[in-house]
Each structure stands twice: as structure tokens, then as C-alpha cells.
């Protein structure tokens, strides 16, 4: 799975992009966030306020119950501030 991080989530985690092998028990976005938060203080800190973390799977906005699979591109980012 390809993971992308943007803005302060990227800054807190310390990388903008990484390739991860999904543990077998990860079925949806919520599972993925829980697992990521367990990977270290940088992840836990970045994902602490879970409700401000926006998620896109394959470049579409999704909710926490959206399924994820190993070939997906999953992006995590704070609320957008363009325009």
C-alpha cells in the first residue's frame, strides 16, 4: 500500500510518502489509522485528533468504514485550506 501524508500530518510523521505491507487484519480506514498510530510517537501525534484527519483512498474522499486493500493509494491530511 502506498501512503501519502500532507501538510502538518506530513510534518509530524516526518515523511511525505511511504510504501507499507498491510498486516492481514486491516479491513478498513479505521483499522489502518489505528495500526498507523501504533507505529511510533510521530504517527500517534499526527493522528491524535482523529476527527480532523481527512482520508482519501485512490484520490477520493472516504469515511473510516471504507475498505482498504494492499494495492490502494491512501492519503492522510488535515482539512484543506486552498483557494
Amino acid at each position: 500500500m502506498k501512503l501519502l501524508y500532507f501538510a502538518w500530518i506530513r510534518a509530524k510523521i516526518g515523511v511525505g510518502e511511504e510504501q507499507v505491507a498491510l498486516p492481514p487484519n486491516i479491513a478498513n480506514v479505521g483499522d489502518l489509522l489505528d495500526w498507523l498510530a501504533s507505529r511510533g510517537d510521530n504517527y500517534a501525534g499526527a493522528l491524535k485528533e482523529r476527527k480532523v484527519v481527512k482520508v482519501a483512498v485512490n484520490q477520493e474522499y472516504v469515511g473510516t468504514d471504507h475498505p482498504v486493500k494492499s494495492g490502494d493509494e491512501v492519503a492522510l491530511f488535515p482539512p484543506v485550506t486552498g483557494g
Binding site: 501519502l4 501538510a7 486552498g82
Partner: protein
């Protein structure tokens, strides 16, 4: 009919707006909104130079802008429609974004422009990092922007 550009470079508003009606004499009006970088270092901050850096999600940005534009084209009778959004480091006074629409009807052109900029502010994956000359901080999303978008739903 729909043009979306995500680019580092500045753009030429006059040329872009002229292109929206060029060759189409059924267009009665072209509305536009241009967003600019405001100076975050107040007038009392001496020679502090503020700037803004726009980060975005290449690939998803273009898709989201195209989806927003298509939604506008479904809601109003528009001839053409344009969104240009810049990324990278920008200085006060620099253009950030241009939305524009051409229609036979002025209401359609003006309202769709308001819709485009409101939606873009809450849906397009851009993030602003402000630097007021002393410290950097990520701009927080505004509740007022969410409210502005809600009125279209």
C-alpha cells in the same frame, strides 16, 4: 468547455477571461474571482517579509477541481468554465487562484463563480503554510468556509 490548470506559474487574467468567450457569441457575460495572497506581516512588523507556501496533492487536486467544475456545469447553464490554482511559494499580492465562468445569463455566471470558490476552499486538496517573517504555521480551516459551502447543498 471545462478547463482546469494546477501550476506553479502565474497566469494572465486578461488572456484567460478573453479565451472564455472567444468565438462564442452566445456568451453574454463572464464572471471571475481572483484570490490573492494577503500580507500577514502587519504594517508594524518593520521589514518582516511574509510569504505563503501552497502544498497540494498532485493527481487528486486535478480530479477534485474537475469534479467541482462539472458540478457547477450541471447546476447552471454555462458555456465555459475555468479554474486555475497555483502551488509553491507565493508573496503578498501574488495571485493564488482564478475561477471564471461564461454564460448567456449573468446570474448563472456570477453564482457559479461563488459556488466554485466556496467548494474549492473545502474540497480541493491544498494546504497553506504561512510565514509571517518570524514563524511558520499551517493555516487552519475556517468554519465559515464550511458554512459557505453548505449553502449550496
Amino acid at each position: 468547455m471545462i478547463t482546469v490548470k494546477v501550476q506553479r506559474e502565474d497566469f494572465d487574467i486578461g488572456a484567460e477571461l478573453a479565451a472564455l468567450s472567444d468565438g462564442d457569441t452566445q456568451v453574454g457575460g463572464v464572471a471571475s474571482f481572483t484570490g490573492l495572497v494577503r500580507d500577514m506581516a502587519g504594517p508594524h512588523d518593520g521589514d518582516a517579509q511574509s510569504s505563503m507556501t501552497l502544498e497540494h496533492y498532485p493527481g487528486m487536486t486535478e480530479k477534485q477541481l474537475a469534479a467541482i467544475a462539472e458540478e457547477a456545469a450541471r447546476r447552471w447553464p454555462l458555456s465555459r468554465l475555468l479554474i486555475i490554482h497555483r502551488y509553491g511559494k507565493l508573496l503578498p499580492g501574488d495571485r493564488i487562484v482564478l475561477v471564471a465562468s461564461a454564460s448567456a445569463h449573468r446570474e448563472a455566471a456570477l453564482q457559479s463563480c461563488a459556488f466554485l470558490i466556496d467548494w474549492l476552499k473545502t474540497k480541493a486538496p491544498f494546504w497553506k503554510l504561512e510565514d509571517d517573517g518570524k514563524a511558520q504555521n499551517w493555516v487552519e480551516a475556517k468554519e465559515s468556509d464550511d458554512k459557505a459551502t453548505e449553502r449550496w447543498s
